[in-house]
Symmetry: C2
Subunit: 339 residues, 2 copies
DNA sequence: CCGGCATGTGTGACCGTGAACATGCCCAAC
DNA sequence: GTTGGGCATGTTCACGGTCACACATGCCGG
C-alpha cells in the first residue's frame, strides 16, 4: 500500500483519509464540523491535514453543493474614495464570513457595459450582488439577463428597505442644507450626482425637502458626474451669474472643483460663498479651506451590506438592519451668508 | 423520453446534448471550439444553448481542469486612487482575457494580516498574484505559507524584471527632483512612502540619485504613510526649522497635507516653498495651488501587469514588457527658489 | 482492394467533495 | 430478550464538466 504523496496534484480528502486510516467521508465530516465524530478520530484527521498542508478544493465543494460562497460587486467609479472604501469593507466582511468577493467594474454606464459586468459575475455563480453603480439601469439589465440573485444596494431612498443598506442619505443631505440655512443662506445651489445613482437622488431629495421645510425657494439642481473636473466647470458656469451665496455639493470631489473655480474668480471661501460637501474623504480636512461636509461611514456600510445579503443567504447571520446616521463635520468652508 | 428542463438545477451540457440530439462530449467540443465539428451540428448545439440559456459551470470546469482562471490581488491602501485605479484596470484586463479577479485587502501591514489575505486567496486556487502592498513582507509570507504561484508586483526598482511591471518610478522621481533643482532649489526635502513599499523605495532612490547627480546635498527622507494627515503633521514638524525651499512628496495626498501645513504657517506656495507630488490623482489639478506632480498611468500599468502574469500562464498572451515612462505635469505649486 | 489517416462523433472514467443510505455497536425501554 | 434509537463510521453515488480512447465513415495511395 502506497502512502506516498501524489506528484502534481494537491492532497485531497482521500489522501488525508488514507493516512489517517479512515474513510474520506469521515474527513469530510471533520471539515464540516459534523457533531458525531470521536474526538480522537477528529484529532488524528486534523493532524494528518496539518502534516499534508491539506486545503479544501473550492471548486469541488462548489460543484457538489452548488454554492459558490461568492459575492459579486458591480461597481462604477471604483477609484473614488467612497466606492473604494465600501468595496474594501465588503471584502473584509465577506472574508470574515467565509465568502469570496468578485468585482466587476464598469467604465461607462451604458447598458452594454453593465450587461458585460453582470454576465461576468453571473458566470461564476455569485450568490449575492452588491450594486455600487447607476442602480436603475443595473436592475433593468439584471431582469433582462434573467439573473436571479439576492442583491443589496449601498444606498437608498428608503423605498426598498429589503434591498438597501442605507446610510440615511436624505438625512445627511438635510443636515448639510440646514447648516447652510441656519447660517443665513437663502440662495443655495445644489450640485447633484448623476441622475441614475440612487444616492445622488436621495441627497437631492434631502436637499429639496429641507429647503422646502424652511420655505426657501430652490433652483433646479445641477447634475454632475462626481468628478472634481465637473465641479470646476460647473463652478465657472455658475459664477457667470453669481446669484447665490452657498452651494451644497453631493460629494467632496465636486466641492473641490467648485472651490477651485471660486478662487479662480477671485472670490473667497467662505466669505463670499460657502461650500458643503458630502462623504468626508480623508483629504477633505486638508482642502483649502478645509471642507465642511457630511461624514458617511463607508466601512460600516459595507459591513452591514454583507450582513444583509448573508441574511438572505444564511439565516443564521446577524442582521444589522437600520440606518446609519451620517454626521455633519463643520470645517472652514462654510460661514454666515454675505448678503 | 423526457425532454423537460430540470426543476431547480441549471441546464448542463447533458441537457443541451439531449435536446440537440448529440452526445455531451459534442457539446463540450462546441464550447471549447474544437476544430472538427460539422458546422450544422455546431449550430444546432449553439441554438439549444441559447434556448436553454445554458451557462457553463465554472466550478465543474475548474475541478476537472484544475485551473481556476482566477487572479488574486493582495492590496493595501486600496482606497487610495493609485491602487484603486490599478485594481480596476487589472480587473478589466483579466476579464477581457477570460479570467476572474479576487481581491484581498489588508488593513494593517503586519504579518498576520498578510498571511490571512494570502491564505484566503490561496484557498480559491488563484493562478497568479498581483501584489499592491508592502512587498518585502508579502514575499516572506508567501514563502512561509509555501504558496507557489506566479506573481507580479506593480512597481519596481528594476531589480527583478521578471516579476515587476514597472512604471519607472525612479525615472519619475528624478524628473520631479530635477524640476526642483532646475528652478534653483538647493535644500529639498523628500517625504517618502512607507519603508517596505518597493515603489516608495524606488522613488526615494530616484530622488537621492538625482540630487547626487547634481551634487546637491541631501537630508534623510522622512518616511510617511501615504496619507494627507501624515503630510500635514510632517509639514508642521518641518516648518519649526524651515531650512528648505522645496519638498518632493512621494504621493499627492501627502503633498496636500504638506500644503495645508504650509498655509497654516502663513507661508505661500510656491513663493516661499515649492511642492511636487507623485501620481497625478484627478483631484491634484484642483488643489490650491494646483499641484505639480508626476503622472503615472495606473490603468496601463494594471493592463500590462495582467499581460505579464498571463504570459506565465498562457504562453499565447501578448507580452507588453518594457517600462512605462512617467510624465512630469507642471502646475502652480512649484516656482523659483526664494533664496 | 486494402491499409492508413483524417474527420466527426460517442462512451466511460475521473476530478474532489458532500449527501443519502447502510452498517455495526451500545444502551435503554418494553 | 427483543426492539428501537442514537452514535460513529463506511459505501456509493452525484455534481458538471474534460479527457483518453473507441468507433464509424470517407478518401487517398500503393
Amino acid at each position: 500500500m502506497s502512502v506516498e504523496p501524489q506528484r502534481g496534484r494537491a492532497p485531497s480528502i482521500r489522501d488525508v483519509a488514507r493516512l489517517a486510516g479512515v474513510s474520506h467521508q469521515t474527513v469530510s465530516r471533520v471539515l464540516n464540523h459534523h457533531p458525531s465524530i470521536r474526538p480522537e478520530t477528529k484529532q488524528r484527521v486534523l493532524d494528518v491535514m496539518a502534516e499534508l498542508q491539506y486545503k479544501p478544493n473550492r471548486a469541488a465543494r462548489a460543484l457538489v453543493t452548488s454554492r459558490s460562497r461568492t459575492i459579486g460587486i458591480l461597481s462604477a467609479s471604483s477609484t473614488q474614495y467612497g466606492p473604494a472604501s465600501s468595496i474594501a469593507a465588503i471584502e473584509a466582511a465577506a472574508r470574515a464570513a467565509g465568502y469570496w468577493v468578485s468585482t466587476a467594474n464598469i467604465e461607462s454606464s451604458d447598458a452594454g457595459s453593465i450587461a458585460d459586468g453582470l454576465a461576468h459575475l453571473a458566470a461564476q455563480g455569485i450568490e449575492g450582488l452588491v450594486v455600487i453603480a447607476p442602480q436603475v439601469r443595473v436592475f433593468d439589465t439584471l431582469a433582462q439577463l434573467s439573473i436571479d440573485v439576492p442583491y443589496v444596494t449601498l444606498q437608498s431612498t428608503g423605498r426598498d428597505p429589503d434591498h438597501a443598506m442605507s446610510v440615511d442619505q436624505m438625512a445627511g443631505a438635510r443636515l448639510a442644507t440646514r447648516h447652510l440655512i441656519q447660517l443665513g443662506h437663502r440662495s443655495i445651489y445644489h450640485l447633484a450626482g448623476p441622475q441614475d445613482w440612487i444616492e445622488a437622488e436621495a441627497r437631492m431629495r434631502g436637499f429639496l425637502d429641507e429647503m422646502g421645510a424652511h420655505d426657501v425657494p430652490t433652483t433646479a439642481p445641477i447634475l454632475g458626474d462626481w468628478t472634481a473636473e465637473f465641479g470646476y466647470y460647473a463652478g465657472r458656469e455658475l459664477l457667470t451669474v453669481r446669484d447665490f451665496t452657498a452651494i451644497f455639493s453631493s460629494n467632496d470631489q465636486m466641492a473641490l472643483g467648485l472651490m477651485h473655480a471660486i478662487r479662480d474668480a477671485g472670490l473667497e471661501i467662505p466669505r463670499d460663498i460657502s461650500i458643503v460637501g458630502f462623504d468626508d474623504i480623508p483629504e477633505a480636512a486638508h482642502f483649502w479651506p478645509p471642507l465642511t461636509t457630511v461624514r458617511q461611514d463607508f466601512a460600516e456600510l459595507g459591513r452591514r451590506c454583507v450582513a444583509l445579503l448573508l441574511g438572505d443567504l444564511d439565516p443564521a447571520a446577524p442582521d444589522y438592519r437600520g440606518t446609519i446616521v451620517p454626521e455633519l463635520i463643520v470645517r472652514a468652508s462654510t460661514g454666515p451668508a454675505a448678503f
